[in-house]
């Protein structure tokens, strides 16, 4: 197989991690909540999925059930972590930035403890046999695009459709823009906020699980999750809060990051380490460039949701 094509496919697979993270964060931010706990939630999602697989590892369950249990484990852990955030910021109206950052520290730490207790071979045995269907048998890069990769694209497309084409999406967006208005026309603001932040956390958690079990499939993979989480948050800005744009953005981000990790193998010409760090920086540079560009054009559609980060009190006058 063509090495370039190989490389492109790998970038695609890599980008799907950010696709999950960014889609989850976009849904959350559309409800007016800035969840900086996404990296922590992704870590916890990875841990939850792998833990679930470890629990059922010894039982001879049918393949699809194992996959489902892994996915549900990831979503469950992600949502539980997200629930901490939702309760603190929606019900108690705590500061969203502080809560999110604390959650990232918490999730990253706790997930490492959980991974420390796991036998890595138990969950990794499933990655090749189950999660990388239908191309698991191939020797080229296509084998790396497993079930969860296709799910990522599906999630992006569905999220985009729901947000832009349904009444539920319209209401969710109105809450992020102006919760007072939404409340006045009878939208249940609190309920929508909870649902959006929880579903967002569940989706982001899948990104962590996907990275470990499907894409990287190594026992070291969990150590990179926090970094990927921050990239996902940057991708939200890059994608201008649009899930379908997150697909394009994640491919670009994946490509740049993949370049960075390939460079270590080149070496020689100039310090590979320096070049690698420079390349890893590029997604953030791109994000800043997008910010500058959209700020200059100043189009209202490209702005973040107007009440992002602001708690909502009905009685406040």
């Amino acid at each position: 197989m063509n090495p370039w094509l190989n490389f492109a496919i790998e970038s695609l697979g890599f980008g799907a991690i950010f696709m999950y993270g960014a889609t989850g964060e976009i849904l959350t931010e559309k409800s007016g909540h800035l969840n900086l706990g996404i990296p922590g939630i992704m870590c916890m999602g990875g841990a939850g999925g792998c833990l679930a697989l470890c629990l059922v590892g010894g039982l001879q369950l049918p393949g699809f059930l194992v996959v489902l249990i892994g996915i549900l484990g990831a979503i469950l852990f992600g949502m539980l972590t997200g629930l901490i955030y939702s309760f603190l910021t929606i019900t108690l109206r705590a500061n969203q930035n502080v809560t999110g950052l604390a959650l990232t520290t918490f999730g990253a730490g706790l997930s490492k403890v959980l991974f420390g207790t796991m036998d890595h071979t138990v969950y990794l045995q499933f990655s090749r046999t189950l999660f990388r269907q239908p191309f698991a048998a191939r020797s080229d890069a296509l084998q790396k695009l497993g079930i969860l990769f296709y799910l990522a694209i599906l999630v992006c497309v569905v999220a985009s459709y729901v947000l832009m084409r349904t009444k539920v999406g319209l209401r969710l967006r109105s809450i992020g823009e102006n919760p007072g208005t939404a409340d006045a026309v009878g939208v249940n603001v609190t309920r929508y906020k909870y649902i959006a932040t929880l579903i967002g956390a569940g989706i982001a958690a899948l990104g962590g699980f996907y990275s470990i079990i499907d894409f990287e499939a190594s026992q070291e993979a969990y150590k990179n999750l926090e970094e990927y989480g921050w990239l996902s948050v940057a991708l939200v800005i890059f994608a201008l809060w649009r899930p379908h744009m997150a697909i394009v953005g994640s491919i670009i981000f994946g490509f740049l990051y993949r370049c960075a990790s390939q460079l270590t193998q080149l070496g020689g010409i100039f310090s590979a380490m320096t070049a690698q760090s420079m390349l890893k920086m590029l997604p953030y540079v791109f994000t800043i460039a997008v910010l500058i560009f959209t700020s200059i054009r100043n189009k209202r559609e490209n702005h973040p949701p107007a009440s992002l980060g602001l708690p909502y009190f009905r009685e406040e006058r």
């Binding site: 319209l170 109105s174 102006n178 208005t181 939404a182 009878g186 209202r300 107007a306």
Partner: protein
């Protein structure tokens, strides 16, 4: 009128804490009529309407819709009863199109089909004679278009009773005429309309009946054809309530602040101040009366250096004649500048020139009070920032309407709030906390501020105490001009009197006090002169000792009256 009653309120009472917003109000609205609700600011019009729209819940009394007793606990309940309210402040999502805003929150079966909504919106618009583009984004719309969206929003939900809260306040005369035509068509269609306003000529031109509220109580409902502007004003302002404010005669009033021909526009490009001219004298309280939003806020902010002007002049006269120049807020450079204009003389009356003198010599002379002003210092304040105004030595104090927004920082304690005025004093880079702390303690003691501690965030204090802190700080600055916007709003009667007394004391000390108020009784009892402002235009100056509430009320509400010149 042979129609059925669409809505009636019986003995409706609403309290906020100890304040009674509405007391035993009885009101009927017939089908296919336009009812105007008329009253002064703060008389409870909006509160009453909010109870019909489900924003507030009445403490006592019943509401009947189409003969049935109903309970309206939320805007959703109101919508279900076909009641729709168009608030003064629009509730729209800027980023959405007209149609998206209209369909938001409508619980209808079937799929979300924007095309369908667009055509329905166009149909409604056509039926009543609106002009609207359903696909236009709200942020691209004018105020009038936004209002149209709000009206269609309630019509789309099938409302047959519409409440409009001061719909004409933000519109141009042409837009008002268009709105009234739409309202008349709705009326012909059998819809009931309640319109809140305080513009008498609008009441007379659009409504069938008028309900008058005063201080939360329903005074009367009259047929519009039987009413005149003066009869309505009389019912609206009521009889004079005696207030016991010790008012002294102004002593030796001198022009302190001269405002000439101010014009300015707000962010939306609407002209807010139109050719405003007046003089504020020392030792006198100048009241500013007007319907809320007539330009009072912009006027005070313009003087304080917070509002950009299109044209006009603001001049401050500093009574410095024969008084020594000091370095109070004044740099050596400024003193030299003044000297170059020949502004100084020495104690014997001979002109002074600093030419050829060293800086240290000048400092010595100034410190020894040997440099006196020849004339009163006259300074233009236009185009200067608040800091520049202060560094000129103009002692101008401003008690803004928005106490915790512009006046004080809510999350800081009293001492820290005192330092907002004095943070530039003290050694470079460091703050001097001692003086502000003493001042804070003095204010707490003298004005009897009820606070758990000197460092309690002022946000946690009651409205009256917050106001005492703010006014106390501004007075401690020993102002020459003191501007206070609605300083007693939301205060109980005792706190109000504390504030009145403080203002009176300042007046006796020779300060030029400018008092923006809403309660005509207070304005008449407290001020020496009253300037009436109406839609950004000065409609008259009256002597507070001889005028009547009716006279001021008419000046406040009539729009066809030509602007009067100030007669000194």
């Amino acid at each position: 009128m042979d129609n059925k009653i669409a809505l009636s309120m019986r003995n409706v009472t609403k309290r906020f804490g100890k304040v009674v917003a509405n007391r035993n109000v009885n009101l009927d609205v017939y089908q296919g009529e336009i009812l105007a609700v008329l009253g002064e600011n703060g008389c409870g019009k909006t509160t009453l309407m909010n109870m019909i729209a489900g924003i507030y819940f009445p403490d006592e009394g019943q509401i009947y819709k189409d003969g049935q007793e109903v309970v309206i606990r939320s805007p959703k309940d109101a919508f279900a009863l076909k009641i729709g309210m168009i608030h003064q402040h629009f509730k729209l999502v800027d980023l959405f199109t007209a149609s998206e805003n209209i369909v938001l929150g409508v619980d209808e079966d079937g799929r979300y089909n924007l095309k369908n909504v667009n055509s329905q919106v166009s149909q409604i618009a056509e039926k009543y004679g609106f002009h609207i583009d359903p696909k236009k984004k709200v942020y691209d719309m004018s105020v009038s278009e936004k209002q149209t969206v709000e009206i269609i929003k309630v019509l789309y939900r099938g409302a047959d009773l519409l409440i409009l809260d001061e719909p004409t306040a933000v519109l141009t005369p042409q837009e008002i005429e268009r709105l009234f035509n739409v309202l008349r068509r709705m009326k012909e269609d059998g819809k009931s309309i309640i319109i809140i306003t305080h513009k008498l000529h609008e009441v007379l031109s659009i409504s069938d009946r008028v309900a008058i509220l005063r201080k939360g109580e329903h005074i009367a409902t009259v047929n519009t054809c039987d009413a005149t502007e003066s009869s309505l004003t009389e019912m609206m302002v009521g009889k004079k309530v005696s207030l016991d404010i010790a008012r002294s005669q102004p002593v030796n009033p001198q022009a302190r602040l001269l405002v000439k021909g101010l014009n300015c526009k707000n962010a939306e490009g609407v002209q807010i101040l139109k050719d405003v001219s007046f003089t504020a004298n020392s030792g006198e309280i100048l009241g500013i009366a007007g319907i809320a939003g007539s330009g009072q806020k912009e006027l005070l902010e313009a003087i304080a250096g917070l509002q950009l002007l299109d044209s006009g002049e603001i001049t401050f006269v500093n009574p410095k004649k024969d008084k020594p120049v000091t370095f109070f807020h004044k740099s050596l450079r400024r003193v030299k500048e003044l000297d170059a204009q020949g502004s100084f003389h020495d104690p014997e009356g001979k002109p002074i020139s600093f030419k050829g003198m060293k800086n240290s010599q000048i400092r010595k002379l100034v410190a020894a009070d040997k440099v006196l002003f020849r004339e009163d210092e006259v300074m233009s304040l236009r185009g200067r920032t608040p800091l520049e105004i202060r560094s000129l030595g103009v002692r101008l104090s401003f008690v803004p309407e928005d106490r915790l927004g512009m006046g004080l920082v809510g999350s800081m304690g009293i001492t820290d709030n005192m330092m907002l005025r004095s943070y530039r004093k003290g050694p470079a880079g460091f703050l001097s906390r001692k003086k502000p702390k003493e001042l804070a303690e003095e204010i707490i003691r003298e004005l009897e501020v009820a606070t758990p501690g000197i460092n309690t965030p002022v946000r946690r204090l009651s409205g009256g105490n917050v106001q005492k802190v703010l006014v106390g700080r501004e007075i401690a600055f020993a102002p020459k001009v003191l501007m206070a916007a609605y300083p007693v709003r939301g205060l109980d009667i005792n706190s109000s009197y504390t504030i009145y007394n403080l203002l009176n004391k300042q007046k006796e000390n020779g300060v030029a006090v400018i008092f923006v108020g809403e309660d005509l009784d207070v304005l008449l009892a407290l001020c020496d002169r009253i300037m009436v402002i109406n839609s950004g235009r000065v409609t008259g100056f009256v002597d507070a000792r001889t005028t009547t509430k009716e006279e001021v009320g008419l000046l406040m509400t009539q729009t066809d009256r030509p602007a009067q010149e100030e007669n000194e």
